[in-house]
């Protein structure tokens, strides 16, 4: 009895021990096929599941409700034309008892050249890891960029809608609408970001220590974020709130409109 028990113990599996029955070996073929599928994304959050089921077709629906995006695959699915570029990799050092510990800081800009741009900054011990991490962070931080006209409203919007300025550290970047055909009049660094954003013509002016690429690029990104925060007469109309994909109709929306008018306008999508 004891010997049989010992044998059984060896062959029996269950969780906590590797299972290796003969017939299961044949079934492992199914698992092997699945391994190729393992590159496919299995969403972890509810928003991810909605995106995977294609219930959410445009990223603007996420922007409308300011939902936090926690998985970068969501952005990859919703904005298919994302391109990325590494702006700079700088080594940064920390002094330790045993010398210097060097890490690499990567700045990555992603964008689809049509109104969506993201910026990611990551510091890691290896260059490849830093770049990978920065790309993921850049995708998580994709924001919409509002474009407008300089003068005649002919054709598609091509420039910033108004004068906007962004600041990070000591660097301030000011963007001014430009007539069609001016091109992006900017330094090398913000020019890249603006190209990714899809802005065709703009005049820029910068101040501060623009040598620090980190602050310079963050300042332009901040400036681009503000394009949709600027109140223009189009937003004067009372906003009609829509239900978020998750939330039930809350008491908030039942509050009389006078109370709601005090708030800043909800960012709507410009066609």
């Amino acid at each position: 009895m004891a010997e049989r028990g010992g044998e059984r113990g060896g062959e029996r599996g269950g969780f906590g021990r590797r299972f290796g029955r003969g017939d299961r070996g044949g079934r492992r073929g199914g698992r092997r096929g699945q391994r190729q599928e393992e590159e496919k994304w299995v969403p972890v959050t509810k928003l991810g599941r909605l995106v995977k089921e294609q219930k959410i077709s445009k990223i603007e629906e996420i922007y409308l409700h300011s939902l936090p995006v926690k998985e970068h695959q969501i952005v990859e699915t919703l904005v298919p034309g994302l391109k990325d570029e590494v702006m700079k990799i700088t080594p940064v050092q920390k002094q330790t008892r045993a010398g210097q510990r060097t890490r690499f800081k990567a700045f990555v800009v992603v964008g689809d050249c049509d109104g969506h741009v993201g910026l990611g900054v990551k510091c890691a011990k290896e260059v490849a890891t830093a770049i990978r991490g920065a790309i993921i962070l850049a995708k998580l931080s994709v924001v919409p960029v509002r474009r407008g006209y300089w003068g005649n409203k002919i054709g598609q919007p091509h420039t910033v809608p108004c004068k906007v300025t962004g600041k990070c550290g000591s660097v301030t970047v000011r963007m001014v609408p430009a007539p069609r055909g001016s091109g992006i009049v900017a330094a090398r660094v913000p020019k890249k970001v603006l190209q990714f954003a899809g802005i065709e013509d703009v005049f820029t002016s910068s101040r501060g220590s623009t040598k620090t690429l980190g602050n310079f690029v963050k300042a332009t990104f901040d400036c681009l974020m503000k394009t949709y925060g600027f109140l223009t007469p189009e937003f004067w109309k009372e906003t009609s709130f829509r239900m978020t994909p998750f939330q039930q109709f809350t008491d908030l929306l039942a509050i009389p409109t006078k109370g709601l008018m005090l708030e800043a306008p909800v960012e709507t999508v410009e066609a």
Partner: protein, 458 residues
């Protein structure tokens, strides 16, 4: 040097008493102390051997010490042989469908099988066959997880799960543990190695209790009064079955009397019940692989940490910023860990040092706060956790009121105690994704921009 002796009964700082003792002990002791000090050779190690800097981000040691985790993956049964392996006599690991009860006779009954909030019978989530090889009475051991499919009940459950277990808090998620010795009344001593197609028809289970005709999960105690052959676990299921199909079938069953006392489904095939249940899968286990880029930095969870950009417009209170940071870091390490195997639905580790992988820092259970076993008063220990990928495989709807969780962690009795009850309840902790709306509402803070107010849960 005069040292004032502290008055009796006012020993506030221990070091003060120490110095007082030193002064009154006399010069002899002082000399011996100085001699000891003189004998000490203080060498500076820095010149001779470079001291390796303890970098807080160097987590390579952690990889070695971490206990081995077994992951569970969903596998869809395709061939009829796979379906046959889901029967109780093969001790399956399965998710969805109906549970393959280990002890098929003495099933849980009464209030333990329904949600304490809405009263509906609970739905089967998954079962894990996890025998303990060192314990004879746990030769066969399975853990069954049930939960109410209603999100409203789960939200109420969040408040109750932290309460003292002795007070019998209401739960909507329940875990049962059943264990049998090798020599038991239900299964043969000899195990089937595997059922080939020829044996399949002969391989049948032993005596079984009557299951509900609608859900196939719980014991059918009530009986249809017309045909007296369909059993049900609750009035609700009887009503549902009557409306959907039994109304038409009832008379037919009455008209054709069988030899058997009831309409027992075929014991050789996995029964299919009309009731609402999640799609049935088998769970395949594999050990967790080490990180792909193991030669790189050990803690690559930094990849996912979102470094907050300075937003001077929004008045974030200091508390909120700190909360967000801890949550972000926890989420980053969670994402990093599951990125090794994105399809995992179960994480199993019964070792002593095992800790659950929390998705957030808020809503997690500290190790010190784990309650004790209600049967033997022994300590509970983390055994396994269910991951949110299971919701994707269950094809759960994504409506506002649909089921959603971050992780469900199960803590079981460390000694896997034996008591008279066959299906013992274990402690389960559900962690949900935090909803920003509730966070702001509870703290009484209203941000100036509508964006924050309209923000809702993931």
């Amino acid at each position: 040097m005069k040292v004032r002796l502290p008055a009796a009964g006012t020993f506030k700082a221990p070091f003060r008493t120490f110095t007082a003792r030193k002064s009154c002990s006399g010069t002899l002791k002082m000399e011996s102390n100085t001699n000891k000090l003189q004998n000490l050779h203080i060498t500076s190690n820095e010149e001779t051997y470079p001291v390796p800097e303890i970098d807080c981000t160097d987590d390579e040691d952690d990889e070695v010490m971490e206990p081995q985790v077994t992951l569970g993956f969903i596998d869809e049964p395709e061939e009829p042989e796979d379906w046959h392996l889901l029967l109780p006599q093969h001790f399956p690991n399965k998710a969805g469908g109906v549970p393959a009860w280990l002890d098929p006779v003495n099933l849980p009954s009464g209030k333990s099988r329904s949600c304490d909030f809405c009263g509906e019978p609970l739905r089967f989530v998954l079962q894990v066959y996890a025998p303990i090889h060192s314990k004879e009475t746990a030769y066969h051991r399975t853990l069954f997880v049930f939960m109410c499919p209603s999100m409203a009940c789960l939200l109420l459950d969040q408040h109750e799960q932290g309460k003292d277990r002795a007070a019998n808090p209401k739960r909507s998620v329940k875990v049962f543990r059943c264990q049998l010795a090798q020599d038991n009344a239900f299964y043969q001593l000899e195990e089937h190695e595997g059922c080939s197609e020829s044996i399949e028809s002969q391989c049948a289970g032993g005596p079984r209790a009557q299951l509900c005709h609608w859900c196939g999960t719980w014991k059918g105690e009530k009986r249809c009064s017309v045909c007296r052959k369909a059993y049900y676990c609750s009035k609700k299921h009887q009503e549902l079955d009557w409306r959907s199909s039994h109304k038409n079938e009832c008379h037919q069953i009455l008209g054709a009397p069988n030899d058997s006392d009831s309409i027992l489904p075929d014991a050789r095939k996995v029964p299919v019940f009309a009731g609402a249940a999640w799609p049935e899968y088998t769970v395949v286990d594999e050990t967790e692989k080490p990180p792909r880029f193991a030669n790189c930095d050990g803690n690559s969870s930094e990849l996912y940490v979102v470094q907050g950009q300075n937003e001077p417009d929004h008045m974030l209170s200091l508390m909120d910023e700190f909360e967000a940071d801890a949550d972000n870091r926890c989420w980053a390490s969670f994402l990093d860990r599951i990125s090794r195997a994105p399809h995992q639905v179960l994480r199993y580790c019964r070792e002593a040092k095992a800790k659950p992988l929390w998705a957030m820092s808020s809503g997690s259970l500290a190790t010190a706060a784990i309650p004790s076993c209600i049967y033997c008063s022994g300590p509970l220990r983390y055994e396994f956790q269910i991951m949110p990928q299971l919701l994707h495989f269950f094809h759960v709807e994504n409506k506002p009121d649909s089921l959603d969780w971050a992780t469900i962690v199960v803590f079981t009795c460390q000694g896997s105690c034996d008591r008279n009850i066959n299906y013992k309840e274990e402690f389960v902790w559900v962690q949900l994704y935090p909803t920003t709306a509730t966070r702001y509402r509870s703290s009484g803070y209203q941000s100036p921009s509508t964006n924050k107010i309209l923000r809702s849960d993931l």
